[in-house]
């Protein structure tokens, strides 16, 4: 179904605003209460072991620093290939997530293994560049072999009500994800929820991104004050669930930034299960953008197996 059919008219700022502002409002207190109640679930023993493995397989193991080097990226890829050298049954993360210029090094390190390479693009993290630059940034990463593109929306345009501009940029980047082979890179659209501030804005941005063809909607860059939170992720899960109900298209969700412990990550899984349902308990539809989370999960995994908590000296730094 194309965007005009969904919106029910020719796409203009006005028609997009009418459509986005007709979505049900979000009650902040109620949303946060629901998230807090989901966070009280107690996940133990077998279900915990299952959840920990799923969390690893849903991870986008990330390094996004100005100080990144090819060697640092290779080290991260090695960690993804062998997360725990003492337990080779440990699953690998879904992807490694790097800056565009590091894609070639990541691809070389990963080779033919089933770990994707995701690249942030479009003048990440601020998104403040011309569309021409954003497109080239994307095309470069795709040409270097990126399997996934994590783009940022133009928050300035969104907040000033220029919804059509946001929509057009996402669509253009989606086009730039195409490859001559036909195997397009998957597009994750970062809403930067910490800058959108209100839950109503976050719901609207989620719908706008889905309308424009996002494969995933992602909370944050990890570079602002407020990154992924459980209520925000709950809200975005409601959005993808409702979108699937309405149009039959399943879109993924990726919380990123600030999820550091197994306990936190398990709360997100509980929220996925009890909001969007089992269909989303799948690395193709739910991801964690994280860097330090992996080692905490590995320590918890070891603890479950050996009944002793060994501490961080017994897992490798990446």
């Amino acid at each position: 179904m194309d965007a005009e059919t969904i919106v029910g008219s020719r796409l203009t700022n006005q028609s997009l605003r009418r459509w986005l502002h007709s979505l049900p409002g979000v009650d902040k207190v109620g949303l946060e209460q629901r998230a807090a109640s989901l966070a009280t679930r107690s996940i133990k023993t077998d279900s915990k072991a299952w959840a920990l493995d799923l969390i690893i397989s849903m991870m986008d193991l990330t390094t996004l620093e100005g100080a990144d080097t090819p060697a640092r990226v290779r080290s991260l890829c090695n960690k993804a290939i062998t997360p725990d050298e003492d337990d080779l049954d440990t699953p690998s993360p879904a992807a490694v997530c790097v800056y565009g210029d590091m894609v070639q090094h990541a691809k070389a390190a990963i080779g033919k293994r089933k770990i994707y390479v995701a690249a942030v693009a479009t003048a990440f993290p601020s998104g403040r560049a011309s569309l021409r630059v954003k497109l080239q940034d994307t095309k470069d990463a795709v040409a270097a072999g990126a399997n996934e593109i994590d783009m940022v929306i133009d928050r300035g345009a969104f907040l000033s009500g220029n919804y059509l501009e946001v929509f057009k940029q996402i669509q253009a980047i989606k086009q730039a994800c195409q490859r001559p082979s036909g195997k397009a890179a998957h597009l994750k659209v970062i809403l930067e929820t910490g800058e959108l501030q209100t839950y109503d804005n976050i719901r609207r941005a989620s719908y706008l991104a889905m309308l424009a063809g996002a494969d995933f909607i992602k909370t944050s860059t990890g570079k602002v004050g407020v990154n992924a939170t459980l209520p925000i992720t709950l809200l975005m899960l409601q959005a993808v669930r409702d979108w699937y109900d309405e149009y039959g298209i399943q879109i993924g969700v990726k919380p990123a930034g600030g999820i550091r412990t197994s306990k936190d990550a398990i709360r997100y899984l509980v929220t996925v299960k009890e909001t969007a349902g089992d269909l989303w308990l799948d690395p193709d539809y739910f991801r964690f953008g994280a860097s330090s989370l992996l080692n905490d999960v590995l320590m918890q995994r070891k603890k479950l197996k050996t009944k002793t908590y060994l501490g961080s000296d017994y897992v490798s730094v990446d």
Partner: protein
Amino acid sequence: MFDYSPAPEAKLASFASSYGHFIGGKFTKPQKTFETINPATEEVLSQISHGSAKDVDLAVKAARNAYEKTWSKLSGAQRGKYLFRIARIMQERARELAVAETLNNGKPIKETRDFDVPTSVAWFFYYAGWADKLDYAGMGASPKAHGVAGQVIPWNFPLMMLAWKVAPALAAGNTVVLKPAETTPLTALLFAEICQQAELPDGVVNIVTGFGDTGAAVVGHKDVNKVAFTGSTEVGKIIARQVAGTNKKVTLELGGKAANIVFDDAPIDQAIEGVVNGIFFNQGHVCCAGSRLLVQESIHDEFIKKLKRRMETLRLGDPMDKNTDVGAINSKAQLQKIKGLVAKGVKEGGDLWQPACKIPRNGFWYAPAIIDGVSPANTVAREEIFGPVLSVITFRTPTEAITKANNTEYGLSAGIWTEKGSKMLKLADQLNAGVIWSNTFNQFDPTSPFGGFKESGYGREGGRAGLAAYLKGGN
């Protein structure tokens, strides 16, 4: 897929094999005992004494004696000191109290742990603060207590109802004789131990266990000055007759059939949560439960679809499991009452739906239910079911919503779901209910008065109003 493994809370509470009454600071010898059970397993937890008129008389005498000789002679600050001490001990024993409540009542441990016990403690802390400030309660200088308060409480929130009654009574300077419900006496008896631990003067709090006849003896005792009752409207009416023509002051908090009104401009996902919380919290054993869903016709289908999906995630089972959302029905009698009323609702044309639930073999259980297509004349739209059963009624305009919401014998609570503030305020003004929640439901705070209109009773509990009910000239 992601099935949660059992996460049972440890059995941190233990009970004596039998209990007497708590009179004058001491437990009496157990007599004429009956079993109290865990409704989730039907396991016998302890033997409880069935109080006679004579036991009640002893308790009232102990309360009178304590009132005359000690409690009325203490300063407000000294009374407050005891209340603060009780609150702190309850906090220290919070997990034990939560476990005991879950075992004896059947409600999930997550509710007793996160709601019943913390709210009970909050009530004691709040009224402890009032004890030395009665001069500022707006009732003139040095307002006086009534004397002996006779209190009869229900089984749905055993400890919390005790706190709602005992804390303001003691803060105002009364002494009390309390009769807990016959199916849930255990946390009240643990509370008696807490009174001993706090070195509360003997006879200030007396607890007599038993059945309806015991409660009637408390209410009818000639030396009781103030009666406070929470329970069914049926019993409330009997009490009102019993105390008519006497000098006794009375507050009654009775049944309800609250409307939860959802407009098409509501925050839908949060409204779903509010409706679920409104009726399935505590298995619907809540007098202010949102048992009638009034949903705007234009969003009925979408709303019910979402509601059903949400209900499928409710976890029914072992109340001691930390992940249980819906626990056991408190008694066989209550289960039969629920079943009977639902059968009537279906016979009258209601469309019953329940999610697939694994019902445990022992104990008393009822899967959460909605009855759609209910019209205001149906039994399930009028009678209080006091179980996890939601009756769904539609409306088209705000006027129709008000008419239907107010078309009930009761008037305890109501909920309004809309993002439009002006509409919410106008409706709140027109709803004939004591408590109105907007874009939320089942919120309780010791500072906020709670109580109903019409057959939901009279008098208020909580806040300054709840204190005034225990002072002369107050109610």
